[in-house]
């Protein structure tokens, strides 16, 4: 029997598994998390007794439905939680489970690895108390913790308002919601967002709720600094009139939209192409999510589309697997899914234009700002390495010479900003700056995982 492995138990992985099971197959579903649901529909441990209805707000129904569906699916698949795929070597997956390395062979691989926050550095962003927006949400949903009692939200993303709303619902004060994109730029991008009116409306309601609650909501800001002696005490911003207001806070959540987690797709042999709207290199896929024979990609791990698009793209990829196995397909169902995925991803593309990645602000960062926090490399070190004779002009060379992107996170955090610094330094486009090549292990693995010394 064909071994089908799905990596990632979020909405994409779960819906793909459901469709395969409905067709009499038993996929292996590997997930890094302890409980299925992915990042957005993350499920806390039962003994935390979190009020998920309150926390999820308008998404509570979808949250409950996904977990109910997974409950029904669980016994019909080979589900392996808390399992990291750390390398891929042809058809061999290298896993880490319970601190031990093991391998798994697969015939068909569906990667639904999800997304993580895209981060733009600012002076002082490495102080304790600065979190990514997704990290702030994970702390809430996974552990029932707030990152602080007075929290500032900074970035360029509709999720800033959503997370602020969740934080307020759970008892935090909100110091400010600050977006680096001007309001006029968002208005200009609005027509593209009408394709998903429900999501658009939800976003507008979050913003309205923040305004009603008297939360300072700024657009078009330039981050100046995170201030504090040893940890976060305030966020200083420059507004569009040139003033520099200071917002006292004890935590900051940074979010500039999401970026797909593409390392596994890279190791599995996907090709990449530059996407000028997202200013990221993304895996190339066909309309069903095929990246190459036997390799399928779905969900936010390949194109940011949100939970609903992830779910539909997971099902679409499962249809591709079934088709490639020679199974008869329901064409109407596939068309519906394909239209849905396309519409939702177009919406996200509109969002990427509306909530712009602040590349000019990154290019203008002062030299002393830390760019790579794993290896402690500053923006200035990258610039001066590039300015030397025979200096590097491409991100992988910059990494080799400066160690930027060479640490624990392997450039997953600093990569997008590094790409902009390199692009600015060479006066080329973001595409010419290049893409950090994926390397195993995709996450650090302890020596002990390799087994007893023999």
């Amino acid at each position: 029997m064909t071994e089908i492995v799905i990596v990632g138990a979020g909405p994409a992985g779960i819906s793909a598994a459901e469709l395969l099971v409905a067709n009499g197959l038993k996929p292996i579903l590997i997930d890094e998390g302890a409980r299925a649901g992915g990042q957005g529909y993350r499920r806390p441990a039962d003994d935390l007794a979190l009020d998920m209805t309150r926390l999820m707000g308008s998404e509570a129904g979808r949250y409950a439905a996904l977990h109910k569906r997974f409950g029904a699916l669980h016994s019909q698949i080979d589900y392996r939680p808390q399992t990291l795929v750390w390398a891929i070597d042809g058809k061999h997956l290298h896993l880490l489970r319970d601190g031990r390395a093991e391998t798994l062979d697969c015939d068909r691989l569906l990667i639904a690895s999800g997304a993580m926050d895209r981060i733009a550095p600012l002076p002082g962003w490495t102080k304790p108390g600065v979190f990514t927006l997704g990290g702030a949400q994970a702390a809430l949903k996974d552990q029932g913790c707030l990152i602080g009692s007075r929290v500032a939200f900074l970035g360029s993303s509709p999720l800033l308002a959503l997370a602020a709303k969740q934080y307020r619902a759970m008892g935090a004060e909100i110091a400010v919601i600050a977006d680096t994109t001007a309001f006029s730029a968002k208005l200009a991008a609005m027509p593209a967002l009408l394709g998903a009116p429900r999501t658009l409306l939800r976003g507008l309601l979050y913003m309205a709720a923040a305004l009603r609650a008297g939360i300072p909501t700024l657009h078009g800001v330039t981050p100046v600094a995170v201030e504090g002696d040893g940890r976060v005490e305030a966020l200083v911003l420059r507004d569009d009139s040139g003033r520099e207001p200071r917002f006292a806070c004890d935590a900051i959540a940074l979010g500039y939209g999401l970026k797909p987690e593409t390392q596994l797709a890279d190791l599995a042999g996907a090709e990449f192409a530059y996407d000028p709207d997202f200013r990221l290199f993304l895996p190339k896929i066909d309309g069903f999510g095929r990246a190459r024979p036997g390799l399928y990609l779905a969900g936010d791990g390949v194109r940011i589309g949100g939970a609903d698009a992830a779910e539909a793209s997971g099902a679409l990829a499962a249809h591709a697997i079934l088709a490639d196995l020679g199974r008869t397909q329901d064409i109407a169902a596939i068309r519906l899914l394909a239209r849905r995925v396309a519409r939702l991803r177009d919406f996200q593309r509109g969002l990427a234009r509306a909530f712009a990645w602040p590349r000019e602000q990154i290019a203008a960062l002062p030299d002393p700002v830390t760019l790579c926090r794993c290896e402690n490399v500053t923006v200035g070190e990258v610039r001066s390495a590039m300015a030397k004779a025979l200096g590097p002009v491409e991100v992988n060379r910059v990494k080799a010479i400066t160690r930027c992107g060479m640490g624990r996170c392997q450039g997953r955090v600093c990569g997008p900003a590094l790409q902009e610094i390199v692009a600015a330094g060479t006066e080329q486009g973001g595409e010419a700056a290049g893409r950090l090549r994926g390397q195993a292990p995709v996450k650090p693995i302890a020596l002990a995982a390799a087994g007893e010394p023999t």
């Binding site: 004779a389 060379r397 624990r408 195993a440 292990p441 693995i445």
Partner: protein, 384 residues
């Protein structure tokens, strides 16, 4: 079509090419170095960074020692640093048979004037308490050192450029031909170079040039699997190598541990690709934990390899062409070229300008491949 005239053209911007350019330019030669990618991107940039004097091919000691003196003087000579650290090299034996082999290496090293310390089990534990009890004996050479291979070649190439050498990165050679007593090169951008002498130090791509002049060497490409851990409190000063070849590692002052293991990994010079199979990562991790058990919870964060050129006798080609006056070869360094790089560059500059070098290089002649090559015993354990 532009034609540039130069005294010496060097093909291959690795460490050898950069040092050769530096020494030639310093003596007033017009030098052009052609590199298809970026300088120091292949063998010179992906290796472990070892400047090891212990356990080298015996015929290479005069060259090695000449080279080490250049490394020791690197900052003054080049005007920039490349993280040179003279922290010594510890060679470990796990049993008596290995101990005897160490002793053999030590005697050879000593015959060339190196100071080699013998270290017994009790002293091993006292001086390097993180060592596992498996190590029963070791030799230590304090003069052995390391440098950062990613920095070394660009640094030397910049120094060569400051001396007047022309360094052309991202430039491919598409044709090389004899032109009078010299050479004519066609480059991919359509330009042309005319020169009196030609240095072929193109690594895994070097035979393509040699073959244009009627000679060859059985070069094959492979790569050194390399691994690095997250930073760990700095405790491991020397480079440490298990003589069984299972692992070699060093810690840099910022804390990361760099390790390499055998067997070497397959490399594809055409696709410019040298992936590290995950099973080798696991084997290297076990090898490191075996020597330094305190690192069991230390995490490997990254692996890499690159494209190195090997020859079956595990000895490089260095010296004049056997067919073509004015052509010089330096390739096939078999994973041992980083340490001798500066010396090879110096010797080549002497051969080109003075007609000879005081360093004996006879064992490295390309002419040895006119008959069937000898095969090194390292072959069996260092390659898959």
């Amino acid at each position: 079509m532009s034609t540039q005239t130069t005294d010496v053209t060097i093909v291959g911007g690795g460490l050898i090419g950069a040092w050769t350019a530096f020494f030639l330019a310093r003596r007033g030669q017009r030098v052009t170095l052609i590199e298809k990618g970026a300088v120091g991107e292949q063998s010179s940039g992906v290796n472990f960074g070892n400047l090891r004097l212990q356990g080298r091919f015996p015929g290479q000691y005069p060259l090695s020692l000449r080279s080490q003196a250049l490394w020791e003087d690197f900052d003054a000579l080049i005007g920039e640093d490349c993280e040179f650290e003279q922290t010594g090299h510890l060679y470990l034996a796990y049993d008596e048979e290995e101990h005897a082999k160490l002793e053999g290496y030590a005697k050879v090293s000593e015959s060339y004037g190196l100071a080699i310390e013998r270290v017994g089990p009790a002293e091993l534990r006292r001086r390097w308490p993180w060592l596992s009890e498996r190590a029963v004996a070791a030799t230590f050479s304090a003069r052995d050192a390391t440098a950062n291979p990613r920095l070394a070649t660009p640094t030397v190439a910049r120094a060569a450029a400051r001396q007047g050498a022309i360094i052309r990165e991202n430039t491919r050679v598409v044709a090389v031909d004899r032109e009078g007593n010299g050479f004519a090169l066609m480059l991919a951008d359509g330009s042309r170079i005319s020169c009196g002498a030609l240095v072929n130090c193109a690594g895994a791509w070097a035979p393509e040039i040699a073959e244009r002049f009627g000679e060859t060497a059985p070069v094959f490409a492979a790569g050194p699997p390399q691994f690095v851990t997250e930073p760990f409190p700095y405790r491991i000063e020397p480079s440490v190598q298990a003589i069984d070849g299972s692992v070699i590692f060093r810690q840099i002052p910022r804390g990361n541990i760099i390790l390499a293991g055998y067997p070497r990994t397959a490399a594809d010079p055409q696709a410019n690709h040298a992936p590290v199979p995950p099973v080798k990562t696991l084997a290297a991790m076990r090898g490191l934990a075996r020597v330094a058990p305190m690192l069991a919870q230390c995490h490997v964060i990254r692996v890499w390899s690159g494209i190195e050129a090997y020859l079956p006798d595990m000895i490089p080609v260095i010296g004049s062409s056997g067919t073509t006056p004015g052509l010089f070869h330096a390739f096939g360094f078999c994973g041992h070229g980083f340490q001798i790089g500066p010396g090879v560059g110096l010797c080549l500059s002497e051969m080109i300008l003075d007609g000879e070098t005081p360093t004996p290089l006879d064992p490295f002649s390309i002419m040895r491949f006119r008959k069937a090559p000898t095969v090194s015993e390292k072959f069996r354990k260092e390659f898959d």
